[in-house]
Amino acid sequence: MRIGIVCPYSFDVPGGVQNHVMDLAEALIGLGHEVSVLAPADEDSPLPPYVVPAGRAVPLPYNGSVARIAFGPVSTARVRRWIIRGDFDVLHVHEPLTLSLSMLAVLSARGPVVATFHTAMTRSRVLAAAQGVLQIVLERITARIAVSALARKVQVEHMDGGAVEIPNGVAVAKFTDAEPLPGWPGECTPGRGGTIGFLGRFTEARKGFPVLRDAFVHLAPERPGLRLLVAGPGDSDDLYEKFPAELRDRVTFLGLVSEADKARMLRSVHLYVAPNTGGESFGMILTEALAAGTTVVASDLDAFRRVLDGGRAGRLFRTGDPSALRTALADLLDDAAARATLTACGDQVVANFDWPVVARRVLEVYAAAIEATDGRVIDQEWVGLG
């Protein structure tokens, strides 16, 4: 199948949507399809061979943050040319309701269009003012995909339409093959040693870092050699000042890490802790930790419970309760067999989030969109499902 994918955000800046687009494109190519990705980027920036740059993106304050987007007559002409040259069987746009290449592509397209909605954004003020324009864009979309239940809910309630829910995939191999950081995770025997990991904004309340900090501060004195590895955006002084002075040398802060280092970091710990107190719609990081073969300890939130298969693939503790977390940590660090059981189950769970599996589900949506456009039915084999 010839597939054209449009990414609204520039590949020059890392981000969730960009990673999703790249992983999806690579998985589809791996399944034997021809894929071309159109994205804003400078002509001379280093890009994967399947990406077609659509020119420089301009930073524009949008919806409360700064988005780097490309929009205007020059971009429109480039999008048109790409669509005509590409002769695609299906066009797959991401976030078509932002003022971006995606919207331009939808407006220029004639055939089947599949749209993926990533954020659970409601109508922005800019777009609410242009209700008619929004309707014209939505009307040209044949099939919609939402990456989370929350994004789907917004579709149903605000955009007046359904969407197929297909979660983000995980590039499992990138995590299983990652090399642990030198000197990590170190020894872990009953009563001694062990490494605990946390990734994310430790300053943000709903990420729940204080819960983990409390548990660590109480557990560390009784457990010599216990270490904490923290990665994520933030200032190291803010992190350290909350820990008692004698424990500070047992806390290591990596700062903001790249995708590759994230995988290495997840491989460098015995237990990955997700102490979130709410607001996570999916729990991507949990699937990544599972892919890295790391034991996961997570708050008992709905989304986390679903990812962890009700607790079979990872230990759940009462949300926001440091002493429950501390007990769970102490138990698991002492019990290598229990950790192995959890990770074995985690391998099975994560296999279903592997990109080739997710990409096959996306291909079925492509087939549904093509069928709905010209009424002919596509064979199972052609979609690539055995």
Binding site: A149, R361, E371, A372, T373, G375, V377
Partner: protein, 167 residues
């Protein structure tokens, strides 16, 4: 010569109005045609599922499932939704073994049917919204074709991919 400017202005307004009406008519037609294609695709997927269920029922599970599949295949348009729901219920009642290729075919056909139905519902909604606009109704655009109809059945997905959390 103010008269000439009046004429120019009036021509311009009429021209713009004609362009808008032409565009709207094209839009209604396009959405309508698309809803029809989606209905054809949905029809094909319904037949595929029923056929796959009949093949499976002949080998295993027996008469009840077979009868439900036949009834779904032969149903008149006004009975079809009920017949399809009945087939879904029968399929849910039997324990499908995903290892059996015939059962796997039914599961796959159901999954594709669920997608076709979702897309059909969305496209019918778009088409009906366009036809329901006051100007479109007033000028009776698209009147040569009947209003696109929803096909209202239960979600035919058999095994919610166990793998994927609903959230």
């Amino acid at each position: 010569m103010p008269g000439m400017w009046w004429a120019v202005g009036a021509t311009l307004v009429v021209g713009l109005l004609a362009a808008y009406l032409g565009w709207t008519a094209g839009r209604v037609e396009r959405l309508q045609a698309r809803a029809e294609s989606a209905a054809r695709a949905l029809d094909a997927h319904l037949l595929r599922r029923a056929a796959a269920a009949a093949v499976l029922a002949e080998r295993r599970y027996g008469v009840e499932l077979y009868a439900a599949a036949r009834i779904a295949l032969d149903a008149r348009p006004d009975e079809r939704e009920a017949a399809e729901n009945d087939l879904t219920r029968q399929l849910r009642a039997v324990q499908l073994d995903p290892g059996d290729p015939d059962a796997e075919a039914v599961i796959a056909a159901s999954r594709r049917l669920a997608l076709a139905r979702q897309v059909h519902t969305d496209l019918v909604r778009d088409a009906r919204a366009a036809r329901g606009r006051p100007l479109v109704r007033l000028l009776r655009m698209g009147r040569r074709k009947p209003w696109p109809q929803y096909f209202d059945i239960d979600d035919p997905t058999l095994t919610a991919p166990a793998d994927v959390p609903a959230g």
